[in-house]
């Protein structure tokens, strides 16, 4: 993709204006007077908080936070600890860090951009910490390794918390560093205390895989390398390093500590006796079914699952992210009335519904998941306890090679022939089912607002010959991409939020598009309106960092799922059903997403509600994206 030709004139103009603003700020005498009046920044009676609560920030502290602080002294620290931290981070091969700036990591910030030359990792400016972490979430699902999110003390971490929770439930590695003024004696009064904690990791510990607060540079090195290892070992997850401002800012004393070597832990594979038993059950099953959710961690996972399915001639019901090619003859749930007698569940989140069905029909349930050997107590993401016949506590992808080998060893020629017959029947059922789904696109084809089938269908011919990647969830768009497009590569679909937390879609799409950029892939985001409005500033991040991404608004002007839920409740409570729009709709005024995109510095057009206007607009958007810029097309759509 071509690089942007955007000149730096705009930025120079901005800097000129900013310099004038800063000069005016410095010239304000009342700031200096107030600073003098408050001896050394201590709180006064006037700024003490009400009812004995935490004091309001002092003028000194506020001035510090707003960038107008006076020079503290003439001292110079040539080699702060944060330089060494950068040396450590560089050994981890982290390409990017996303951050909203904050004073608890200011020393590290400066070291990253100057000492580290803003490379490996490169700094990406975000307008919200939730966006930073969600970007890292999307990035990791494409790239298969963590991106860093640099987070400001208490307040930044609390902003980030929802995105951390999504990544935790989605088993996605994210490398997070959060600043903290841990030494109370060295903190400035006011804001620095408000942004510090005795145990900062505790704020998000329930949904981070691991956290640590190193107390020296040597400790930092060990923690930093270990954190990467833990994030990547299945089940993956976000890890957090609390990085003390004092250790960042103090000069390095003497020789720097050795940086330990990173060695990734091999994923846990299943016990061989259990794998053999699973192989026997599957070979002898008359109607086996494979259900895969967060199974394919890498492209190799897809290849292995295809091999397993073809060996068994079993249908594969792939959920969440892509585990199996959608148009493979074995994709789906089998022919009408296909009642599995053995189900193989690979990294399935809450297995109870399937286990119940299996039990009711006397079928056997096999589960392989690494989550079985990693549990916490508070958050209930482990789902229900279920009756399972064979529970293999291991990473499913890492276990498949042994399972495949075992099946190959045990399959007789006669059994193979029987399985081939089943496979032919399944292929027929697959084709019929997919034909029906495609034909269903006819309903509402000419409707205005535009149907999601039309939107998705019209997009397909425009992208199918490109190296494309759908970087947004599909649940809220009726799974139409899955129904109409041909997905056969691991990066072509990255699944959903993890924990169902809205506000994930837009930033995760930008993060995934960032990962796709160096591969020259075309990233497409079908963006729900409710999700975008959590933190739309990520559009600016995409524009600023020239991240090519086609965003198509699925603008149904509401939190549509909730409209349905409230309507259902009204019926259930036997009360009037004409008020479900209260608290659920995003109209009056309608949000102008084209203008929003333009305001953030990218191409934006719409709203488009006539289906005949759709293709020309999509083509214009794609043209811009292919030049290396983001673009947005606002499409007014049917609810789902």
């Amino acid at each position: 993709m071509a690089k942007s030709k955007k000149t730096s004139v705009d930025r120079r103009g901005f800097l000129k204006g900013a310099a004038a603003g800063a000069a005016a700020l410095v010239a304000k005498p009342q700031v200096a007077d107030a600073q003098q009046a408050q001896s050394n920044g201590q709180p006064t009676a006037q700024n003490r908080g009400v009812n004995g609560s935490a004091p309001e920030p002092t003028q000194v502290a506020l001035a510090r936070e707003t960038g107008a602080r006076p020079a503290e002294s003439a001292r110079v620290i040539e080699h702060p600890g944060s330089d060494y931290m950068v040396d450590v981070l560089k050994t981890l091969d982290i390409e990017y860090l996303a951050a909203n700036p904050g004073s608890t990591y200011e020393s590290l910030h400066e070291s990253l951009i100057n000492y580290g030359d803003n490379k490996m990792p490169e700094f990406l400016t975000c307008c919200h910490e939730e966006s930073a972490v969600a970007m890292a979430h999307g990035y990791a699902k494409i790239e298969g390794k963590p991106m860093m999110a640099l987070i400001h003390g208490d307040i930044g971490l609390q902003h980030a918390s929802m995105a951390i929770y999504n990544a935790y439930v989605d088993r996605v590695p994210i490398y997070m560093v959060v600043g903290n003024h841990s030494d109370g004696a060295r903190r400035n009064a006011g804001v620095q205390s408000l942004h510090s904690a005795q145990d900062l990791g505790a704020l998000v510990r329930d949904y981070t895989k691991w956290d640590d607060e190193p107390l020296s540079l040597g400790h930092f090195a060990e923690t930093a390398v270990r954190a990467y290892n833990i994030a990547m070992t299945p089940p993956g997850g976000p890890v957090l390093i609390v990085c003390n401002a004092e250790i960042q800012g103090d000069p390095i004393q003497g020789a720097t500590p050795r940086i330990p070597k990173l060695t990734l832990t091999t994923p846990p594979a299943g016990d061989m006796a259990a794998v053999r038993e699973a192989a026997k059950l599957l070979i002898n099953a008359e109607r086996p079914q494979i259900i895969a959710q967060r199974m394919a961690r890498t492209p190799e996972g897809m290849t292995l699952l295809v091999e397993l399915a073809e060996l068994l001639q079993a249908p594969v019901n792939s959920q969440e992210r892509i585990n199996f090619p959608t148009r493979h003859p074995l994709a789906g749930t089998g022919w009408q009335g296909y009642q599995p007698d053995v189900t193989l569940n690979l990294e399935v989140g809450d297995i109870l519904p399937q286990a119940r069905i299996d039990r009711a029909r006397g079928a056997k349930t096999i589960q392989i998941t690494a989550v079985s050997v990693f549990h916490k107590s508070n958050i209930q993401d482990f789902g229900h306890y279920a009756d399972i016949d064979l529970d293999i506590g291991a990473d499913a992808q890492a276990t498949l090679p042994a399972l495949i080998e075992e099946i190959k060893k045990e399959l007789t020629a006669d059994r193979k022939r029987a399985l081939q017959e089943r496979g032919a029947k399944l292929a027929e059922a697959h084709k019929a089912a997919w034909d029906r789904q495609i034909e269903d696109a006819q309903y509402g084809w000419d409707s205005s607002p535009i149907s999601l089938a039309r939107l998705t269908g019209e997009l397909w011919p425009l992208i199918k010959n490109e190296d494309w990647s759908l970087v947004s969830p599909q649940g809220f768009v009726g799974n139409w991409p899955n129904r109409l497009w041909k997905f056969d590569k691991h990066y072509q679909y990255i699944g959903g939020q993890g924990a169902g937390g809205m506000g994930y879609g837009a930033p995760a799409s930008v993060g995934a598009a960032l990962a796709n950029r160096k591969h020259g892939r075309l990233s497409v985001n079908i963006q729900t309106d409710g999700d975008l409005n959590y933190a739309p500033g990520v559009l600016w991040t995409a524009a600023h960092h020239r991240i090519p991404l086609l965003t198509i608004m699925h603008n149904n002007r509401g939190y549509h799922q909730e409209v349905m839920f409230v309507e259902e409740q009204a019926a259930l409570h036997n009360r009037r059903g004409d008020r479900s729009h209260i608290g659920t709709k995003l109209w009056d005024p309608n949000i102008d997403y084209a203008k929003m995109a333009q305001a953030y510095g990218m191409h934006g057009e719409g709203p488009i509600s006539d289906p005949n206007d759709l293709v020309p607009a999509l083509k214009r958007g794609l043209e811009i994206v292919k030049k290396g810029e983001p673009a947005m097309i606002d499409v007014v759509t049917q609810p789902r």
Binding site: E439, Q442, Y443, G457, M564, R576
Partner: protein, 113 residues
Amino acid sequence: MKLLLLVASCAVLACAQTPAGDAKHGKDLFLSYACYSCHSFDGHGGAGARLVPMPLNQAGFISFVRNAGRMPTYGPKVISDAQLVDIYAYIKTLPTSRDAKSIPLIQELLKEN
């Protein structure tokens, strides 16, 4: 001749039992009661079933809404019979979709499968 009279009188009776309904008011109700949220703005379905072409007669439609299976059950306190008659009249005005065979893109997609 007797048979003809019987059919004619049944038709009159049927007319008497099935008021025509106000499609314009029905449209307002279709929107305010958020029928569109599951069935789409012109009844082509979404999270809920397709309403066009409507397979039920008016009485069947009202009975279905009162005793629904998958969709919520709407009692007369939530929405009256008269209102349902108007909604039914509106649904009957909604155009049916073009057949998949007349949409070239869908035919292309089918060829790819």
